[in-house]
Amino acid sequence: MYRKIWGIVLVVAGAFGMAVATAGPAAAGLYLGNHCEPTAR
């Protein structure tokens, strides 16, 4: 029984870990440059 509960906890923890990694910031994603604005005149 104890092992079963422990197993469920680990699976849930792992599933959430995966969810967080997926939902979190993309690894080494591409950044947008500064937006275009008029230069100093």
Binding site: P25, A27, G29, Y31, H35, C36, E37, P38, A40
Partner: protein, 337 residues
């Protein structure tokens, strides 16, 4: 211990959900609570630090999104330090590159270009030595390209963007939404060189690729729209430009409120159109609001603040010249009389 970790992961997922619903304050509070539930241990394997690292990078994303550079910097510095302490391996090295790229990009935004270059070169070195995936390499070259553009090293920027394009096309093909940001940046590079006609095609390409994504990123679309608007404004196509810039302005205002950095960017472009149309009062008001926002988010000595001050002063000088010219005939007349 495992219960704390589990609770922190749940809080983290909920914080991301709140951020998507634009409840920024609650999202930051919950992510901070998640961070505080996780032990601040360093060293060992990547798995050992991953939970804390994920939350730190999320909080840095929130800081960057809100243009709260101090918050983003604090979290990114901890993330870099945590990653440096962990044993080298493919996953750890890729995340270290990611954190260094983000830290470099933050330094660029705050005009600390030497520090930006240092972080980005370190990321590139790691990506080339290991070697890591093409996507990581593309991320390094892209960030170096943006920095080179900001420093007016246009040939270097072009070289870095070519490397980015090669790596991305090898991974995703030519027509993937993953190439949208690259085309956005190519348009920005042409704009910075005052090649306004040449800038239009990559700007349109960025918008078209971005809208093909399964879940289009509305803020990234607003950023692309803003670039195309700025290009049209520079080409003198004021009506088209105004529509696009107002669309972008509305998106940023709705998401982050009227005091966000991106609101200032749109107002600066709109001011130039308003002045060209002869509405000096509206133009001045737009520039003053943009100046107030940028001073608050970037500080008084940032080059973007200096550019705004310079444009405001140039606008005043033009006003004085206009007034003098319009009063000139009357004066002559009265003297002659």
């Amino acid at each position: 211990m495992i219960v704390d970790t589990l609770r922190a992961r749940i809080q983290h997922v909920r914080a991301l959900g709140l951020w998507d619903k634009a409840d920024d304050r609650a999202a930051i509070e919950l992510a901070t609570a998640a961070l505080n539930s996780l032990p601040a241990r360093s060293g060992g394997t990547y798995r050992r630090i991953r939970d804390r690292l994920d939350v730190l990078l999320t909080l840095a994303t929130f800081g960057t999104g809100l243009a709260d550079h101090a918050m983003a910097e604090r979290r990114l510095l901890e993330a870099v330090s945590l990653l440096r302490s962990a044993r080298s391996g493919r996953a750890r090295d890729a995340r270290l590159c990611e954190a260094l790229i983000r830290y470099g990009n933050l330094n660029r935004l705050t005009a600390r270009h030497d520090e930006a270059l240092e972080s980005l070169h370190e990321a590139l070195q790691i990506a080339q030595q290991r070697p890591l995936s093409r996507q990581v390499l593309a991320g390094c070259h892209n960030a170096l390209g943006i920095l080179a553009r900001d420093e007016a090293r246009y040939a270097d920027a072009k070289t870095h963007y070519c490397q980015t394009q090669g790596a991305l096309e090898a991974c995703y093909g030519k027509d993937s939404p993953m190439l949208a940001s690259l085309h956005h940046n190519l348009a920005g590079l042409a704009y910075a060189q005052h090649r306004f006609i040449e800038a239009e095609a990559p700007a349109r390409r960025a918008l078209s690729l971005r809208s093909r994504a399964a879940n289009p990123d509305l803020l990234a679309i607003a950023a692309d729209t803003s670039v195309l608007g700025a290009i049209f404004a520079a080409q003198g196509r004021h009506e088209e430009a105004e529509t696009l810039l107002n669309d972008a302005l509305e998106t940023w205002r709705c998401r982050f409120g009227p005091q966000h950095y991106e609101v200032a960017v749109q107002l600066h472009n709109l001011a130039m159109i308003q002045e060209a149309r002869g509405d000096g009062a509206a133009a001045e008001q737009s520039l003053l609001t943009a100046l107030q926002i940028k001073r608050r988010t970037l500080g008084d000595c940032h080059p973007e603040v200096e550019a705004l001050l310079s444009n405001l002063s140039a606008m005043h000088e033009r006003d004085i010249c206009k007034s003098a010219n319009s009063s000139q005939p009357q004066t002559n007349h009265s003297v002659a009389g």
